[in-house]
Symmetry: C7
Subunit: 94 residues, 7 copies
């Protein structure tokens, strides 16, 4: 089974648990938005979303930072995913 | 009797009850939005909605994930449906 | 006396009382929006509304589902009507 | 003395007092918006309002239904008027 | 010293004190917005404001009704002015 | 050291302390927005800001009135500045 | 490891701790937004963001003032960064 995102949505798999440290990365979110590192699993087609043309710039395999409160959690066959809009992705970690 | 959605609306029939597990799928929603798996029953014509051209990309029979709080529940001849906007559909489950 | 709606407004006459059952139809609304079945009595001309061109797609006689909290109730010669915008109509019941 | 409305504004003179009945008309408003019957006294020129072209479709003498909470009350030489935007007028009563 | 308004702003000098009566005019504002009669002292150039083209239609000397809570009070050489946007002016009193 | 504003921002140096009087000018702000007189120190380049073309019309040396709560205070080498958007400037005092 | 911002986002490294003084700079923020001096580390590509074309005007090495509450803090290999949108940058300090 797999999840195919619609429009400008992106399926992520969290790499970092909330508030935990791994390697040299400590995530400290503000009260307003807390970031998390995640891996891009699949990417929607983009196109016209809410009247605006969205070009998808992330791709499967990218490690990204998003707002922790962005998106919807979905667990499929024991793996937890998060569905976000591309605009909720802040930066790529390389 | 049947429901014909207007504009960018989609008629769904819930496959998963809220917070219950079936097969390998566990749905865990955030406080903000909780997803649910549903089957697409019928699809509105799209077109210009609120000044923006909407192309319908889901079709009857698709299994989809939506925000649990999105849409309006309607029970017709003992079957419960949910009417959502296409933009409330996050991903297709295949 | 009659009511002629302006712009994208539609005059409805409720078929179903709130939370009651008739024939095979049970309406269960979420906390956010509760649907009701209504008959379309008259339809505004559409045209440019709030800077957007609206084409009216419902017509007098249609049975429709709307959000229960949408619109304004008006009683004219002992008949109660509800004035809604077309965009508040979710689906046509056939 | 007279009031000349600007832009898409319309000067109304209330026909029905709030919550009172006259002839066969009983007005029952929802908690959100309560309607009132009013006569159109004068109509602004329309034109480009907030970046959108507004064509005035009501005219002096029309009996209209508006949201009770819409607009600003002004008493001029002992007559009470209400200034509303045309978009706050729901329907014409004929 | 004088005040030259920018963009779509208009400098007004209040004619009527709040809630007081003069000649035949009694102003009764709703809880939401209370009107006041004022004289236009100077008018901004209009033009593109917030991405929308605004044509100024009021002129110095006009008596106008505005929402009492609209604008900013400024006292210059013992005269109190109010700076409003033209869109906050409801009607011209003639 | 100097501050170069971006986009439609303007660097101001307050002339009047809050609520104090100087010469014939008394500033009385409403609860919602309180004005202050300030001198323009430097002006951003304007251009396309949030999708809208902004032409800068104030210049260094202008005395202006702004909303007291608009902008961000910055003290640089013991001089306090306020950074506002040009749209927060109400009028030029001459 | 490095952070590559998406769209109109900018990676900053704070120069000034909150509310502290360094050299001749004292930062005093209003209740609404408090500024901070930061160095630009990397800059997103700009382009069409939320339907609007954004041209990036800051560059790596710039010292900038932003709203203290803007953006998301990320600590990578013991260095704390803040990810902001370019529109949250008020001015360049030279």
């Amino acid at each position: 089974m797999k999840l195919t995102p619609l429009a400008d949505r992106v399926i992520l798999k969290m790499v970092e648990a909330e508030e935990t440290t791994k390697g040299g990365i400590i995530l400290t979110g503000s009260a307003k938005e807390k970031p998390s590192v995640a891996e891009v699993i699949s990417v929607g087609p983009g196109g016209v979303v809410d009247g605006k043309t969205i070009t998808m710039t992330v791709k499967a395999g990218d490690k990204v930072i998003t707002d922790k409160y962005a998106g919807t959690k979905v667990t499929l066959e024991d793996v937890e995913y998060v569905v976000v809009r591309q605009g909720d992705i802040l930066a790529i970690v390389e």
